[in-house]
Symmetry: D2
Subunit: 326 residues, 4 copies
Amino acid sequence: MNSWGDKFRVTIWGESHGQQVGVSIDGVRAGIALKEEDFLADLGRRKAGGAGTTTRTESDAPHIVSGVYEGHTTGAPLTIVFLNENTRSGDYRNLVVHPRPSHADLVAQKKWNGQNDPRGGGHFSGRLTLGLVAAGVVAKKILGEDVRFATRITEIGGEKDSTKFDQIIEQARMEQDSVGGVVECRVDGIQAGLGEPFFDSAESLMAHLLFSVPAVKGVEFGNGFEAARLRGSQNNDPIIDSEGHTSTNNAGGIVGGITNGNEIVVRAAIKPTASISREQNTYNFESGKVEPLIIKGRHDVCITLRAAVVVEAAVAIALADLKLRA
Amino acid sequence: MNSWGDKFRVTIWGESHGQQVGVSIDGVRAGIALKEEDFLADLGRRKAGGAGTTTRTESDAPHIVSGVYEGHTTGAPLTIVFLNENTRSGDYRNLVVHPRPSHADLVAQKKWNGQNDPRGGGHFSGRLTLGLVAAGVVAKKILGEDVRFATRITEIGGEKDSTKFDQIIEQARMEQDSVGGVVECRVDGIQAGLGEPFFDSAESLMAHLLFSVPAVKGVEFGNGFEAARLRGSQNNDPIIDSEGHTSTNNAGGIVGGITNGNEIVVRAAIKPTASISREQNTYNFESGKVEPLIIKGRHDVCITLRAAVVVEAAVAIALADLKLRA
Amino acid sequence: MNSWGDKFRVTIWGESHGQQVGVSIDGVRAGIALKEEDFLADLGRRKAGGAGTTTRTESDAPHIVSGVYEGHTTGAPLTIVFLNENTRSGDYRNLVVHPRPSHADLVAQKKWNGQNDPRGGGHFSGRLTLGLVAAGVVAKKILGEDVRFATRITEIGGEKDSTKFDQIIEQARMEQDSVGGVVECRVDGIQAGLGEPFFDSAESLMAHLLFSVPAVKGVEFGNGFEAARLRGSQNNDPIIDSEGHTSTNNAGGIVGGITNGNEIVVRAAIKPTASISREQNTYNFESGKVEPLIIKGRHDVCITLRAAVVVEAAVAIALADLKLRA
Amino acid sequence: MNSWGDKFRVTIWGESHGQQVGVSIDGVRAGIALKEEDFLADLGRRKAGGAGTTTRTESDAPHIVSGVYEGHTTGAPLTIVFLNENTRSGDYRNLVVHPRPSHADLVAQKKWNGQNDPRGGGHFSGRLTLGLVAAGVVAKKILGEDVRFATRITEIGGEKDSTKFDQIIEQARMEQDSVGGVVECRVDGIQAGLGEPFFDSAESLMAHLLFSVPAVKGVEFGNGFEAARLRGSQNNDPIIDSEGHTSTNNAGGIVGGITNGNEIVVRAAIKPTASISREQNTYNFESGKVEPLIIKGRHDVCITLRAAVVVEAAVAIALADLKLRA
C-alpha cells in the first residue's frame, strides 16, 4: 500500500522519471510553524553530490501544496511535492529485456505484467524516499524539541572505523564496484509507554517502515543479533530509578514492545548498491541466454551515505505515529 | 493494535492467567478442510517440556468456536480459543513493586497506569503466541502444499554447531542463567510478485509480525547484516532463467520489497530469556532502592527452542496475507 | 471485515447455531470499572420475549474472558463471549435448496461457494448483534456520564403514534406477516469537533456501523431526507452563542461532517422481518421452479423492537471511536 | 482520515483556495488505458455553469502526475491534481468572526483551534470532490463495461416531476434562497457476492463514502425508509431464477449486506446549499451578539445539480473496492 500509519499517516506517489514525487501527510495537528526551508537540511543530507554518490543532481526543492496557511499547519492534509527535473530521456528497453541483477526491474515486470514504468526504476526508485524525508521532518516537529536524534554510519564494507570509510568507498569505485553499510539511529527523550500490543510493538512499527526503504535488508534494536549470543545475565538491563532508567541499555529502549524511557537504539543494514559499473552475467529475456550486462548511467557507490537520513526519517515517522496513538 | 493483516486478518486476546487466550481470523476462504487435530503438530513444537523449557505445562488444546461447519471452513471468521488451566494462584504484588529487569512488568504499569493484569506477564506473556501458532497453521493451508517451510535454529548462545546446543543450554541452566539464539525460516515455493509498494514490502510485513513476537530483537533477510559488509559484485544475484531464478540467493528471495520466486530466507534474533534464577540487582519501587531480586517460578532457559515455530507462524501469516492481496 | 474502528476497535465472530458469538474490543483504556452485570440492561433491551418478538429465548449471559482484572479494565483487549444454548438441531437443507426471500441464505451460498453455515442464518444471524450491544455498553462508559442517549421507535408500519404500535404489530401477526419501523437515537453532550475529514465524517462512521446491522436500509441525520425538500432558509441553523449552539438543530448536531456541540440526531430505517409465516412463492433450486415456501420456526414480527438498542450501540461505538481519535 | 478504501484506496488533499486539490489512488491494476481526456465527461457534469450553479468557473483540467506510462496505468499509485486558478483574494476574516450558519466555518475553527484555512471553506470546500469524481472515473474502468450507471435527480425541493425542476430553482434564486434534492444512482451488472461481513456490508461502504460528500444528510437503499412502512409480504423480493434474480427489487440489490446480482439502487438526500444570499441572523463572535449576516460571493442555488456525479463517483469507488476485495 502507498500509505502507512494510523494517526500520522503518510501517503506517497511518483516515479523516478515521472512528473513528480510527492507525499501527503494526514494527522498533522494544526498550528505547527512550517515553511519550505524547514525541509532543506534533511533533504540536503539525502542529496547526491559528495564522494560515493551519483552525479545525477536534482534541486530537490520541496513545494508545499496543501495544509499550510499563513506559515502554519492547518490540520488538513499536508502535501509536499518534488518535481523531477534532471531526468535523462533514453531507451529503457534494455532494463526490460536484460534486467539488472538484484534490482526491482524484473519483479516490477512480473508484478505488473510488464506494464510498469521502467524508467530509472520507476516507482521502485530511491527517489521516492524524498517524501519519506519530508515526512520525517514533520514527524520530528511533532515529537518536539525534547526528542533528539543522533544518526550515524557505524560500518561501511565491514569496516567500523569511520576514518577509513572514504578510502573504502574510493577503492570500490576504482574497482567499478559498490559497498554496503550499517546506519544506527539513536533517539533520546522518547517517553515510556509507546507501543500498542499485541501487533504494533514499537519495534514492529519502526521495522515496518525501515524495510520499506530500498536496500534495507536487516533491522535490529539495542543489542539486536548480538543479544542472541549473550546470556540473560549479560543482556538484562537492571532498573535503577523510579523513572525506569536502566544501568545498561541492551534493549535499545524497548521492552515487551513498549518504550521504557531509555534511549531508542536501532540499526539498519544497507546492502551494497545493486548498480555497479563492472560487467555482470545475467539472463537476457530476448536472447534467452545468460549474457554480460554493462549498466550505464549514474550510480551511488555507497548508498548508505544518503540512506542515513532516510533511516532517521523512518524512525521519526514511526515514533510520531506511536506518540499520537498514546 | 490487537489485529494485524489486510486480507488474512488475525485478532488475538488474552492474558497468561486469565480464562483463555484466543485468536479470530478473518479472510479464510470457505471450503478448507480443518479440524482441531490439524493444530496439534505445530502447537506441540511450541510446547514446553523438553530440556531448556519451563516445567509449566498446559494441555494447549485448541477449541474451534466459530467458522467451521461440518469439517470445513465457512468463510466466516475462524475463532480458536485455548483455556488457561495450569495457572498458579499467588501473590503477584512483587512484580509490581520490584519489577523484573528486561520484562514488560514496568512498561505495562506505565502504559496502563498500574491497572494492567500483572499475573504471569498478563497480556505480555508468551502464552499469547498460541494464537499466532494456530493462525500460522491456517496460513500454511492457504499458501498450499507447494509452499514448504524449513525452520531451524542456527545459533544458540553464539554457537552455530547444533550438536553443541544441548550442552550450552545445560551449562546455562547450571549457572542459573539463560541463553539466546537465532531462528532461520526458509520458505520454498512462494510465487514471484508478492509485496505491495511502497510501504508493504514483503520484508516489512514479515518484520512487522516478527517484531510483535516477544523476545525478537533483530530480523534480517537473505544475507541481512552480512550484506552490509559485502561488495555489490558479491551480493548481487545474477538471473539465470526466464522464471527469474538466480544463481545465488543473497537477497533471500526478495528484491525491491517484492518476492522474486526464489527461496525466502529470514532470520530472527531471539534474546536470552529475561527470567533467570540467579539474583539480580534492580530497583524496588517500595523501598526506593536498588535491591537484589530472586525470580521464582518456572522459566525457559532457552526460549529460542519454543520460539522457532512462532517465527515460522509469523512468516506464514505474513506470506498468506501477501498472497491474498495479490 | 469482522473488525471495525480505529481507536475503539471491535472484532466479532460467531454463528447463530455455533458454539458461541463473541466480541473483542481493542482500545479500551485501563481502569474502567466493569463487571458482567453492567451489560444486562442493554442486553435485556435486545432480548426476545415481549409481544412482537421471537419465542426463541437465550440466557444471553455475557462472559468476560479477557481484559478485566480485579473489577476494572486492564488496557488489554476486552473480550466478551455468549454461549449459544437454545439452538434447535434440525435439517437446514431446505434453506439451501429453497432459500428464503430477502434473507441472506442465497447470497451466503454464492459468496462462500455453498460452504457457509446455513443453520439459522449462520454468520448473518441477528444473534451476532449481541457483540455489538456489549461493545456499545463499553463505548458508553468511554463517552462518560455527561453523554446521554435517548433512543426510541418513532414509526412502526408507517404509524407515528406510539400508542398504536402494539395494535399494528398484533394485526401483522394475525395476518402471518411482519412490519418495519424507524429507530431514532438522540445523543446529548457530545463535544464539538469530532469527525475526521475528508472520509471519516461523523456521519460516515455512524452510517458505516448502522448499515452493518441486519435489516437497516436507510440512515439519516437531523432533517435527513426531509432536508432535501426544504429551502436553505428553512434548513439552516443560526448560531446563537459562543459555544456554537444553534436555535434550530436541523443538522442533527453535525455540520461539514464534524460535530457542532448540539444534540446528535440519527434515524435508521428497519425493514420488516424477512421471515414471515405466510406462504411465499420463490425459486427452488432443486426443482428448478418457483414454488410455495412456508418458513417454519420462530420469528420476530417486528424486529425494530429489538433493534433499537442495537442502533444505539452502533451510534455509541462510532462516537467512542471518534472521541478517542480527537 | 484523508484516505479511504482497502483494495482501491483513495487519498485526497487540498483547500478551496490553496494551490491545488489532488487525489492519489492505490490499487489500480496495471494496463488500463487512461488519459486525461477520460476524466472530462464526468468533470463536466460536476462543473458549475448551468442554471442553479455558481458563477465561479474553473478549468478543472486534470493533470495525471504519476501512475501512467505510455498511455496506460502502471500499477503504481495513480495521482491526479487540479490547480486552483480562479480564486479571489480577499478578506476571509468575516468567516471567522461571523461564521455562516450550517457551514463548516465554526466547526473547522473548533476542531483545528482557529488554525484552519478559512478561505472558501478551506479543506471543507466542495472543491475537494474533484478528486472523488476523478477516482470515480477510474473506479468505473475497474468495474468494467458490463457495469452501467444510471444516475438522476429524483427530487428537487420536494418536487418529483423533473420538468418542474428549473422553475423551482429559479423561484428559489429569485427569493435569494436555495433548495435541496435527492439523487438516485442505479447500477446494473454488479455481480452477486460483494460485501464483507460483518462490518463491511455493501451498504456500509457506499454509505461511508456518500456521507463524506458535503451536504449529504441521508442515504437509503432500495425501498429505504419506505421499507420501514411496509409489511414483510410487501417488501420481500421473491427469487425467480437460479441466478438469484428477484421479481421485485425492494432490497436495491443488497441482502444481508451482500450484493445479490440485481440492480443496485441507492439514494442520497442533498440538503439545500447553506450559502444563501438573503440575510440571516447568527452569532457574531466579535460583538458577542446575534447579528444579521449577508453572505457575499458566488453560490449554488441547488448544489444537487452538481452533486449527482459526485454521488455516482462515491458509489463507483465503493463498488470497485468491493469488487477488488472479492
